[in-house]
Symmetry: C2
Subunit: 477 residues, 2 copies
């Protein structure tokens, strides 16, 4: 059954859909920055009103200890599959602000792209599903499947209040499968379904030395400098071969059979493509793996930021009293974030120079996630892409972390279909983030088809799903 009515509706309403997305992007919903709390609240109310407006039911802004969730569902129809549509309306901090060519929260269209923080990650991608629901409902007053929409405001800070909500509402949230769009395709016109994500672990190193900032003339040479000590410690986190030097770090990293590596080499981006997307001259890291492998099936430890000493114009002759580094680890299957945190702490204790003290703080732990490429819902997604973009998708691994995929599996027992509509150069998390508008419209069409195909195709039973999502059948263990 072709959803021709819904697709025609999409074609007639493109301009309005774009205007609405711009309205959505204008909310500065930076979840990491407490001063934006009210903006998240306002955005959640706007989104709830919007979902009510397109005909969804039981729309609620769910307050949490942090930023609110927005929930909505279609009027339940017996005998139809239920799809949980997940997205997030919070965004990354726009820093560094001066590198934006237009203000991050004043979306502008240029050369077929919508520029703005969140245009792509994740407001634009989640909005594609919202508009697909609208298109179905407006044309037929019904949907091919039952949908439950769950949009959170804390994804960029590790979803601290999502799991408690899922735990309390696991029966109300019962569904056969979850779907979300928060990741890149392989390139323009090259759709991809993500079947593997890395886990994540955020860490902070806080190094202190003398009890106040010191004059570097008067004390330089006699007192260890916490900022220098921090650099020495960070330098010891990797070996000269680019491997993480923490003992035991790779112990649980799964090695993959030649078949799977061959599949990855055939379907994934090549080294040149990744370097071009990164704007980098050359690769770095574990030389025995392709860059695609290094960013997906191999773990990575990244220094995300350092704060220490004088950062203003000119110079300042100071030995700073403290220095802080923000780090993140991307975990490959089967690393466990809590074990890695333990190994990290042990190693940091060992490499902390005796003249300074170092405190480690950990946050945002998420296990890696894998979905079987044989899952029927993934086949429905492949068909939808074929219809929405005109080409069949490839199956991709992503190096990013979407903790909810793991959370859905553990708390709701369902797999998640990861249908990315972003492009690799959309600058998610960076200045001048953008969303390619033809991907927005094709994404809506793809979601329209996905709901249709899921409503007609065979869906797995619950037990079957669970088994399939914890094992990747192509993979050696």
């Amino acid at each position: 059954m072709s959803p021709s009515g819904a697709l025609a509706y999409l074609d007639r309403h493109r301009a309005r859909f774009l205007d609405e997305l711009k309205e959505f992007v204008r909310f500065p919903t930076v979840s990491a920055q407490p001063r934006h709390g009210a903006d998240l609240q306002r955005c959640a109310s706007w989104l709830a009103a919007h979902l009510r407006g397109i005909g969804l039911h039981h729309v609620r802004v769910v307050n949490t200890k942090g930023h609110p969730l927005v929930y909505a569902e279609s009027r339940p129809e017996p005998g139809k599959q239920t799809v949980l549509i997940y997205g997030h309306y919070d965004v990354q901090p726009p820093d560094p602000l001066h590198e934006w060519r237009s203000p991050p929260f004043e979306p502008v269209v240029s050369s077929g792209n919508l520029y703005g923080r969140g245009a792509c990650d994740d407001k634009g991608q989640m909005f594609a599903h919202v508009k697909a629901i609208e298109a179905h409902l407006s044309e037929q007053r019904t949907l091919p499947v039952n949908v439950k929409c769950l949009f959170e405001g804390e994804e960029e800070i590790g979803s601290p209040n999502l799991a408690p909500f899922l735990r309390e509402n696991r029966h109300a949230l019962k569904a056969a499968v979850a779907v979300m769009s928060d990741m890149p395709m392989l390139g323009p016109g090259r759709p991809a379904i993500t079947y593997s994500m890395r886990g994540g672990l955020s860490l902070e190193l806080n190094v202190t030395g003398p009890d106040r900032d010191l004059h570097s003339g008067i004390f330089g040479g006699a007192v260890h400098n916490p900022l220098q000590a921090l650099c020495e410690m960070i330098a010891k986190l990797h070996g000269p071969d680019g491997r993480v030097a923490i003992p035991g770090f790779y112990d649980r990293v799964r090695s993959w059979a030649p078949d799977e590596r061959r599949y990855m080499a055939q379907t994934g981006p090549g080294d040149e493509k990744i370097l071009k997307d990164a704007g980098a001259i050359r690769g770095w890291g574990e030389s025995q793996y392709s860059l695609y492998e290094r960013t997906t099936v191999r773990p990575a430890l990244t220094v995300n930021g350092i704060t220490g000493g004088y950062q203003g114009p000119g110079g300042k002759g100071v030995i700073p009293a403290r220095a802080v580094a923000k780090l993140s680890v991307r975990l490959a299957p089967d690393q466990d974030p809590h074990e890695i945190e333990r190994l990290f702490r042990l190693y940091v204790d060992r490499i902390t120079p005796p003249a300074v003290r170092c405190k480690v703080r950990a946050a945002q732990a998420a296990k890696p996630a894998l979905v079987s490429r044989q899952l029927p819902a993934l086949r429905a997604a492949a068909l939808a892409y074929q219809k929405g973009f005109g080409v069949p998708p490839v199956f991709l691994r992503s190096g990013g972390t979407i903790p909810v995929v793991n959370t859905f599996q553990e708390l709701l027992g369902i797999p998640t279909v990861l249908m990315g509509f972003a492009l690799p150069d959309d600058r998610m998390h960076a200045p001048n983030e953008k969303f390619h508008l033809s991907n927005f419209y094709n994404g809506i069409a793809t979601s329209i088809w996905f709901l249709t195909a899921t409503g007609t195709g065979p869906m797995p039973a619950r037990g079957e799903t669970e088994a399939q999502t914890v094992e990747c059948q192509e993979c050696s263990a």
Copy 2:
């Protein structure tokens, strides 16, 4: 001849002198920060008016390419020695602001100290000489010596416009000796005359990698991180023994005869004292030298600040496109800043990881300075301290850098008497800078005595001075 009238005048006017110093400190004269340009201009005008008010002549605000100089002199009297009094009215940036217990430019008195940025470095110390001149002039309408006052507004940024001014005005600035107060004593009630300063060289490392900030999930593990690369480079600037690892760095560092090291051990602060002043648990650096030696006759390389990546609250999964470190080198005799810059650049080229680029910027170069302890003006200073503080001073080396000492020697051919009135814990360059008020008043008395003793005692001939200041007679070469 005792300056009893001037000393009595000081006693009667203490409260007013303090009020005037607070007025002086209120100007936020941060020379490193362009937005404070007008504040420096206003402060210079205030200072000029003040110098006119106490009876000095030829008072001028001298505009430069940067912040203005303030010049004034006494009516020249034939047959009297001429003393050049130098100081600076600019201050260090007050960062980090949140660590101040009271606002840096709203001076407050607490427990016998004046708190505020510049209270000690150098407004309070230079103002002691201004008030000494006032005391002499008010009581006797004349001074024991001719004075020329030169107060600059760019000391904290390396005095870029002082040398051109000195060169153009070397005849007008003719003097037998210069005096300045911008350094610590050994402790409360323990005055010191500084006869040795380290040189200085400011450096900046600017590391760049990918052409924009990258998502650390999508690219982490495949692209070198400029912030990590910067840490790796900084870690290589020192060996595990705390010595600077730049080849050739120590080649010109003078070694000192056992006599001089014994003199330093007898007169200088012990390790415990230095650690207490620093608020540090233990020492660090070249273990074969005392901490006093490490901070004075040995060079030091300090990381003053690092900027890179995300520094806001929470986390941000980013590989930053660039990272910057501000460094400073304190040079020991006979290191040359330009040679050290050259060696630094060579070494940085060698240790820059291949996947990133690094640019070095250098600024603020100053040679180390030495004054003979036998110089008659130093003996006059010793007498003045004995009278002003009631105890004889010790002769100290300082680890700090006062480039003008070297500049005065090279351009005017005169030595500089370094009479510190600060305390080691006055937090020069750090939050909560303070000036001990009894040091302010004793400093004024000491300056009154210094002018008197210099006016009556024997002064060296010009040629003799020059020879004495370039050789330290107790030292092996």
